[in-house]
């Protein structure tokens, strides 16, 4: 299987411009990273509705909140590690608690930031944002899904966090496929094991499913693009139908997507489960692909986890 490669950020830039054209209430903030996050596209098209906040993420989140109090729908962007970590209290107090229309769309999440190293990588952002009441958390798998996610969070009331990577990721979905916040996207039906991926790990799940097929195993693949609200019905259905579940995420195993899926299934329909994730360590500098291999975040680990989970069925 091979897919065209594309950075999610490019889709974000396009989505913002389309949104800005359709809606006069859309305002965009950035913290000196507009060329990286691609909010620069919106700046070019609607300079009067773009505000650079400089390297001051805490103030950016508070300013975003104030714009939302004033009736605007606000997109605030920077790297994921700063959006969720540096400005956590501002996101909590000034955005999530007052339930304001601020959409935090962060790029450079996970370890595929690469060379910048652990200071700029984040593997705890999903945990942080997910723990906040009122917050919607979306982790699109690729460019087309990012585009749809940005439009969807703009329509949805309240705060949202949308997570994007830095680099080019496989385009595994298409423009035509339906996207709904809170509704898991089934990419492949199967009966023996369910592979639940988020972000660019969805592609790894599809590759693993293909390898399993060669071994006579039928794997279901779920693109779990919404982490909150979690589609527990789809997860339960997958557990009942397959009897074994694997989760795969570019995030810490502690309080990550696998943890959430495990908790949901423990309550609804427990089955053998394996989690592919960062093993509670900080990353390091390196090429994206090297890092994904180094920390066990490839289709090989998903395949091995699937075999292990299926063995535990007996």
């Amino acid at each position: 299987m091979s897919w065209p490669m594309e950075a999610q950020r490019k889709s974000y830039g396009r989505a913002l411009v389309d949104l800005g054209r359709a809606r006069g209430d859309v305002v965009v903030l950035d913290a000196d990273l507009s060329s990286s996050t691609r909010t620069v596209e919106f700046k070019g098209a609607f300079p009067g509705r773009f505000f650079n906040c400089g390297i001051a993420e805490q103030n950016m989140m508070g300013t975003a909140a104030g714009l939302a109090v004033g009736g605007m729908t606000v997109f605030a962007s920077t790297f994921a590690v700063f959006a969720t970590g540096r400005a956590y209290d501002q996101v909590r107090q000034s955005i999530a608690y007052p339930d304001l229309n601020v959409k935090i769309v962060a790029s450079h999440a996970g370890i595929t930031v690469g060379g910048d190293g652990a200071s700029h990588q984040t593997m705890e952002d999903i945990a942080l944002m997910n723990a906040l009441p009122n917050m919607t958390v979306v982790v699109p798998a690729d460019g087309p899904e990012t585009y749809k996610a940005v439009l969807a969070v703009a329509e949805r009331h309240g705060p949202a966090y949308v997570r994007m990577g830095r680099g080019d990721v496989p385009v595994v979905t298409s423009k035509e496929e339906r996207f709904e916040i809170g509704r898991a996207h089934i990419l492949r039906e199967g009966a023996d094991v369910a592979l639940v991926g988020t972000g660019q790990m969805v592609a790894a799940c599809l590759l693993a499913a293909e390898a399993l097929k060669a071994r006579g195993v039928s794997a279901k693949v779920i693109d779990l693009h919404t982490i909150k609200p979690l589609d527990v019905e789809a997860l339960e259905k997958a557990a009942r139908g397959c009897g074994a579940v694997v989760t795969a995420e570019e995030h810490n195993i502690v309080s990550g997507v696998g943890t959430l899926v495990a908790a949901a299934l423990a309550e609804r329909y427990p089955v053998p489960m394996e989690r592919v994730a960062m093993q509670d360590v900080f990353g390091q500098s390196g090429e994206s692909e090297e890092l994904m291999r180094e920390y066990g975040l490839t289709d090989r680990e998903v395949l091995a986890a699937a075999i292990k989970a299926m063995e535990r069925k007996k």
């Binding site: 305002v27 009067g48 509705r49 505000f51 906040c53 400089g54 001051a56 805490q58 103030n59 989140m61 508070g62 300013t63 975003a64 909140a65 104030g66 714009l67 939302a68 109090v69 004033g70 009736g71 605007m72 606000v74 209290d89 501002q90 909590r92 107090q93 000034s94 608690y97 007052p98 339930d99 304001l100």
Partner: protein, 278 residues
């Protein structure tokens, strides 16, 4: 009472005194809360809510009015008292402060209390919000002001200075910040805990128009707010010298009453000093 245009200084002073009585009653009934910082800014709050700001409960859904952000969220009691007196909710509700299921949380909540525009309490965040709101008003083409009341202790928060830089950079002359310079914070005098002076110079260096006033003198408060309203081209900060616990002798300049409710005997004395019924 006269309309905001006609209300006299003595009527405003009476309003401020009434707010102070509400504050003492509320905190006594709650058994906890922050009297000192509510009493210090009661005159500024009275001036804003009963005269200077153009606002009303009926227009909460519109942006075409003046706006207020309480950055020093622990002064919620005096804020609630002013909102109730302005008709945002019944004054009887004031005594539910801090009680389970009350709309009056210990710190202001946008989602719970009518009239409260922004949830605050974690210090240093209000000015950023005021800036964002001021930008929204500009985008909407509305010539309206955003008043932001800050504490002096919270000037130690780095975000305040990020916001100060931002407001000056974007020439937000519709932002008027007021620093309730009562000189005390939980652990003692501000200058002992973390020196703020020369505070006016700091704001000036950040590009703000800086004014000073005695924040417990209604004439000065009105004059200074009028001057701030007329200033164009840059944001204005008013450093309001105030007395923490103002109006209750044993609370004045007493750091012990930053965050402590009066006991029964103290309550009676405080109410007597404020000219109220116990």
């Amino acid at each position: 009472m006269n309309s905001p245009d006609q209300i006299s200084v003595s009527e405003l002073e009476a309003k401020a005194l009434a707010l102070r009585r509400h504050v003492i009653r509320m905190i006594y009934a709650a058994g906890s809360g922050h009297p000192g910082g509510s009493l210090s800014c009661a005159d500024v709050i009275a001036a804003l809510f009963f005269k200077v700001m153009d606002h009303s409960p009926e227009r909460m859904g519109s942006q075409d009015r003046d706006h207020f952000i309480l950055s020093k969220g622990h002064a919620a009691p005096v804020y609630y008292a002013a909102l109730a007196e302005c008709g945002y909710f019944p004054t009887e509700e004031l005594l539910t402060l801090r009680k389970l299921h009350s709309r009056l949380q210990g710190h202001p909540s946008r989602v719970k209390t009518p009239g409260v525009e922004m949830s605050t309490g974690s210090l240093g965040q209000g000015l950023s919000v005021a800036n964002g709101l001021a930008l929204a008003l500009r985008l909407l083409g509305l010539d309206r002001k955003v008043y932001c009341l800050c504490g002096d202790g919270e000037m130690a928060e780095g975000q305040v200075w990020e916001a100060a830089m931002f407001a000056a950079h974007y020439h937000l002359d519709n932002v008027i910040a007021i620093v309730d310079r009562n000189g005390l914070q939980i652990d003692g005098r501000t200058e002992e805990v973390m020196s703020l002076e020369p505070l006016g110079d700091k704001w000036r260096a950040f590009g703000w128009h800086v004014l000073f006033m005695d924040g417990n003198d209604m004439w000065q408060v009105l004059d200074t707010l009028a001057e701030a309203k007329g200033h164009k081209g840059s944001p204005t900060v008013i450093i309001a010298r105030t007395v923490k616990g103002k109006g209750v002798s044993f609370m004045e300049n007493n750091v012990g009453f930053h965050g402590k409710a009066p006991n029964a005997k103290e309550y009676e004395q405080a109410m007597r000093e404020l000219g109220g019924e116990v």
